[in-house]
Amino acid sequence: MPDCSPAQLIGYLLNALDEEEREEIEQELVRCPELRKKLQRLKRRLAVLELGRREIAPPPGLADRTCQFVFQSCGCLAIRHTTKATSPALPASRDVAGFRLSPLSDYLGGHGANWSFADLVVSALVVLIVVSLLFPALAEVRFRSRVLACRENYRELYQAVHQYQNVNALAGAAGIAQANFAVAKQFLTPPLSWSAIRRCPGMVVESSVNDGSRSVKVSESWVESETAFDREFGGVLLGYSPVIHTASLGSAIPYEQVSLAAIPLWRDSPHPRDCQGWSWNHEGRGENWLFADGHVAFLPRHRTNERPTVLQAVISSVSFTNSP
């Protein structure tokens, strides 16, 4: 049974059907008089639409202009056979504020954009202004995130050392005991030297201990120096030992207590040279310092000096006095 729906009949009348469909309907028309009547009625109704047909003559020379436009736009300047065109499709240049400007497309080899250098300059200026407004804000956000990342790294390190210390029951007066120094040595090889012991800058300690048989007075000052340690470990301060061993004394001499919050234990490298191979996300405008009480502070460069410094303890004098 062929499809004799209205849409199909419309298609038949408008010659919009494929050959097979057309033949099917023609066969059906021969067979069915009702369908023929239906088709006639539809034909009369469709004829009304013919009134809406608009036959508009194309403007003279449209084909020539089109060919010229296409060949010019695509850079095919050697137009061999289109010669009748009289009016160019695009203006060759335009006046802006008294200056005769060529379309940017002439320079870029594009088509239709019709940009001038003035447009380009204005656009570039707008982009520059937007970037200059955004840049400080972006830099500030980047700075803050880096500081935060450094700080978190240090916290984790501190906690790791602290846990090790607790496990080994090696608590000391400043939170990280002398044994912690050994821990740190295991932690970060190669082994450290005594010269790497750090304390607060400018601190001078004089302490005396009376062990019952004799009193010992130690005068200690702290100086800044650059050591191999700093280069090896990228500036990480590995330990502060409030307890100093001297073989000659044979016992530990406790130093006076200092505020833990003022004792820096570790810091990140402030110098680009020391940052070589540094994997942490280091912010170059200052340093993160881990203090003995566990807090971490970001110190700007002007507070930590430009030069990478290592604080070295120098024991200036040790005097013994036999107890009476």
């Binding site: 209205p6 849409a7 419309i10 009625r41 508009i56 449209l62 084909a63 060919c67």
Partner: protein
């Protein structure tokens, strides 16, 4: 290999005006022969311009779209599948260009309604002359009535939704087959049929015509 002689041989040495569209495109694809392109532009000048005028309702926009269409044909002719027919492909390009032109012209609806009367002034004048010649035996009242009727139909077509109008223009006014219109609009043939039927029903409703046989 130079394919132009082969094409000429296939066309029995006939001038390009007698070549099929597909042969012309193939020659332009392979040799870049401008005469083949020019022949295509001339061949479709009237038909495509009419379609675009009817689609856009504005002579200037139609001319721009016409040029843009052939620019696209030039640029994309390498993508043309030689197994397909050229006409639906050309109409697909033209329809896309017309849609782009409409988008660019945000107020296209307002403008088209406004410009329509301007655009058709010339053709109307021509039409009037023809009507005058034809209608020498026609009653002036009938003549006026006929013109009014024409305007009613055109307005009703213009007011159809885009999807219905596209199908009507392609199948009814451009004489395309259902299959070709489906190819142009990239929709199934069944959708073309149903849209055309819906468009005719709506026009009948707007023009206060008796319903189509399915509803008779």
């Amino acid at each position: 290999m130079d394919t132009a002689p082969r094409l000429e041989w296939l066309n029995h040495g006939a001038p390009r005006a007698e070549w099929s569209d597909e042969d012309l495109v193939r020659e332009y694809q392979q040799t870049g022969e401008p005469r083949a392109f020019e022949e295509l532009v001339r061949r479709y000048e009237r038909e495509l311009y009419n379609y675009l005028c009817q689609y856009l309702g504005d002579a200037e926009m139609a001319e721009d779209a016409f040029q843009a269409t052939f620019l696209q044909v030039h640029r994309k002719c390498s993508q043309f599948d030689s197994g397909r027919r050229f006409r639906p492909w050309l109409y697909a390009v033209a329809t896309n260009q017309a849609i782009d032109a409409q988008r660019r012209n945000r107020r296209h609806r307002l403008v088209s309604l406004d410009q329509q009367s301007r655009m058709y002034t010339e053709s109307h004048d021509l039409g009037c002359l023809i009507d005058l010649v034809e209608g020498q035996e026609m009653d002036p009242e009938e003549h006026v009535e006929l013109n009014e009727r024409k305007e009613d139909v055109r307005q009703a077509v213009d007011q159809l939704p885009e999807s219905l109008r596209q199908v009507l223009l392609l199948v009814y006014y451009q004489g395309m087959k259902y299959r070709e219109a489906a190819e142009v609009l990239n929709i199934p043939v069944g959708t073309v049929k149903s849209r055309l039927h819906t468009a005719i029903r709506r026009l009948e409703y707007h023009l206060k015509l008796p319903r189509s046989p399915s509803h008779a």
